[in-house]
């Protein structure tokens, strides 16, 4: 069990990192989310913020309010008895229109992997992807679980503008751009949903630890009708609770 003990180390005079084994694995990520919950609910003064990621949590604290030794004790307390079990997970359906003008790299991904575009869509929309973390930019989900048979290298020259909602592939990863940004991912489709909106509470449609299920849309008409519902705030998201074994 000892090898599963995390490394607790100061990474600055105001940050401490709690890092589990350097692997991208569901059991390790479960621990991160479990520890995040314990620390979030801890009312100790001096903890300023928590950044959970694949296999670590970065804790931002104010040394004037909370000493590093006290914080260490607090972390140790929460680590003892920390479970690697997954809690209930929310499965979120993300409707995606694959191909055509919103997914202009779909043909390339199919060609690169010797598949038909329909097969790429089938493979991509089959799994439930785990949201290991959100980061980099507001609401950007780091997803795990893509079938490697559709992995495709990034563009050698990134595009200057990727529209928000674009669904892409970069090597063995898949992801969604929550806001318009430059990027080098191969874009295979687009969701009409708005994934990050600072005016909403919570601002992010997707949270760390959620499961994502891409649901292919049949037509541009269907995309437009969902888009209209989203714009008028009438869209009912499909979120289901799944108990993990």
């Amino acid at each position: 069990m000892n090898e599963d003990l995390p490394i607790i180390e100061s990474t600055s005079d105001c940050f401490i990192s709690v890092r589990f084994r350097d692997e991208i694995k569901i059991e390790i990520n479960n621990k991160v989310h479990n520890l995040f919950k314990l620390l979030s609910n801890d009312s100790t003064i001096g903890i300023q913020d928590l950044i959970p990621s694949y296999n670590s949590i970065l804790i931002q604290y104010n040394p004037a309010e909370l000493s590093v030794s006290h914080l260490n004790q607090l972390i140790e307390k929460h680590l003892s008895g920390l479970s690697n079990a997954g809690s209930q997970k929310t499965v979120i359906d993300i409707p995606v229109l694959y191909g055509n003008k919103y997914g202009r790299d779909l043909d390339y991904v199919a060609e690169h992997n010797n598949l038909t575009t329909d097969k790429v869509i089938e493979i991509h929309s089959n799994p439930k992807y785990l949201v290991y973390m959100l980061g980099f930019t507001p609401g950007f989900p780091y997803l795990g679980g893509m079938d490697e048979s559709i992995s495709t290298p990034r563009l050698t020259t990134p595009r200057t503008i990727i529209p928000s909602g674009s669904v892409g592939i970069a090597d063995k990863q898949t992801g969604i751009y929550p806001s318009e940004s430059p990027g080098g991912w191969r874009i295979i489709g687009k969701t009409p949903l708005i994934l990050f909106n600072y005016k909403q509470d919570p601002p992010s449609f997707i949270m760390p630890g959620d499961l994502i299920h891409f649901v292919p849309l049949e037509s541009m008409k269907e995309y437009e009708s969902i888009s209209e519902l989203v714009r008028s705030n009438k869209f009912k998201p499909n979120k289901n609770i799944q108990n993990e074994n």
């Binding site: 105001c14 913020d49 950044i51 296999n55 931002q60 040394p63 973390m133 980061g135 930019t137 919570p202």
Partner: protein
């Protein structure tokens, strides 16, 4: 009630509304933002007896030209700069009255690049995720998620109450940026991912770097000798620290600043201590940078000293304590009265009574700061 305070006549190069920053949303990828130079920001608010989280204008390189739409008190801190009200030069680091119709303008900075303009009560902006800070990349916070623009009207956050105001100056606030001297940043060496050889790490502090012109609120890029990785620059994406020294594949360091992405996948060799981040923030492109490693204990001691300066200032300004306690804990930090008599006893207190004017000299890291406190009516 909101009161119109300023109309923006000229926006300056990059003027944004910032408060202490946006906390509690880094888990969904929302950067903290907030001041680049936290020290000057806090003092600007302290000088006006504002709560520390009051929003200020942060200016970069060239500040704005503003017309006052109502009377208020302002304080300008940060870079050494020629600022004027109605073409008359004004002092920085002290509260100033500004009257309806007055025009406040800024010249180019002489030392340092960032200034804070505080007003009594702070600037008004919608609270987005509990903060008024502008996040330019995300286009939210502050004045519509963007820099101030010509014609914008900005308001204060509460009715100005000028009664019983304690006027404080923090003269010669800092001039820690001499453009001709290299800036030494104290750093913690971390290399938690074991990406660097001892040679590479030593190279960082044996070399002199210059700040690249492609630096911004997200990060300050440095040019200089390459820091080589043992194998590669990639790590499993993890949280980013304010002041983290990131070393991407090309070996050129990037120091992560206020608008840094919450997480990143590049290796980090260490971090600039919190107290030195404001100095870095004030350094202009082409400024020379050197590094000196310190221990975590040293970093915390320096942090506490800095907090002590801010706290002693704040408690004096608010005048909540009848007794002003001068806290003296470290050899590096000395307080003497204006006659040069050192105050060295940690329990020594001074009676504070209305009408008194008190003057202190604070010596901190070889520099002397003057602190004058008087009751202002």
């Amino acid at each position: 009630m909101k009161t119109e305070i300023f109309e923006i006549n000229e926006p300056g190069i990059q003027s944004t509304i910032q408060d202490l920053g946006r906390y509690g949303f880094q888990n969904i990828g929302v950067p903290v933002s907030g001041p680049m130079d936290m020290f000057s920001f806090k003092i600007a608010n302290i000088l006006l007896n504002n709560p520390l989280d009051c929003a200020c204008i942060e200016t970069t390189f060239l500040g704005p030209k503003l017309t006052a739409l109502n009377d208020t008190l302002i304080a300008i801190t940060g870079a050494k700069i020629e600022a004027t009200i109605n073409d008359e030069e004004i002092e920085l680091w002290k509260p100033l009255e500004i009257s309806k119709g007055d025009v406040l303008s800024f010249g180019s900075p002489i030392e340092g690049i960032i200034n804070y303009v505080a007003i009594k009560g702070g600037f008004e902006a919608p609270l987005i995720m509990d903060s008024r800070s502008t996040y330019l990349t995300g286009k939210f916070g502050g004045q519509g998620g963007s820099t101030l623009k010509t014609g914008d009207i900005i308001h204060n956050n509460m009715p100005s109450n000028l009664n019983n105001f304690v006027k404080t100056t923090f003269s010669d606030g800092f001039d820690y940026i001499n453009p001709h001297d290299p800036l030494e940043l104290r750093i913690l060496i971390t290399d938690v991912s074991n990406k660097f050889s001892r040679e590479s790490i030593a190279r960082l502090w044996e070399s002199t770097y210059t700040i690249s012109s492609s630096s911004n609120r997200i990060g300050y890029r440095l040019n200089g000798p390459n820091i080589k990785h043992i194998v590669d620059a990639d790590i499993i994406s993890s949280g980013n620290e304010f002041g983290a020294i990131q070393i991407p594949g090309d070996g050129q360091p990037i120091i992560l600043m206020a608008d840094r992405g919450t997480t990143g996948g590049y290796s980090k060799i260490g971090s600039v201590i919190t107290t030195d981040i404001p100095k870095l923030a004030q350094a202009a492109p082409n400024h020379k940078i050197t590094f000196r490693p310190v221990s975590l204990n040293e970093a915390h001691d320096i942090f506490f000293n800095n907090e002590t300066i801010l706290k002693s200032l704040a408690s004096k300004v608010t005048g909540q304590d009848k007794n002003i306690r001068v806290i003296y804990e470290d050899e590096d930090y000395e307080i003497s009265d204006i006659n040069g008599k050192k105050i060295t006893d940690s329990n020594k207190t001074k009676e504070y009574s209305e009408g008194d004017s008190q003057k202190y000299k604070i010596e901190y890291q070889g520099k002397t700061y003057e602190l004058n406190i008087e009751i202002y009516r």
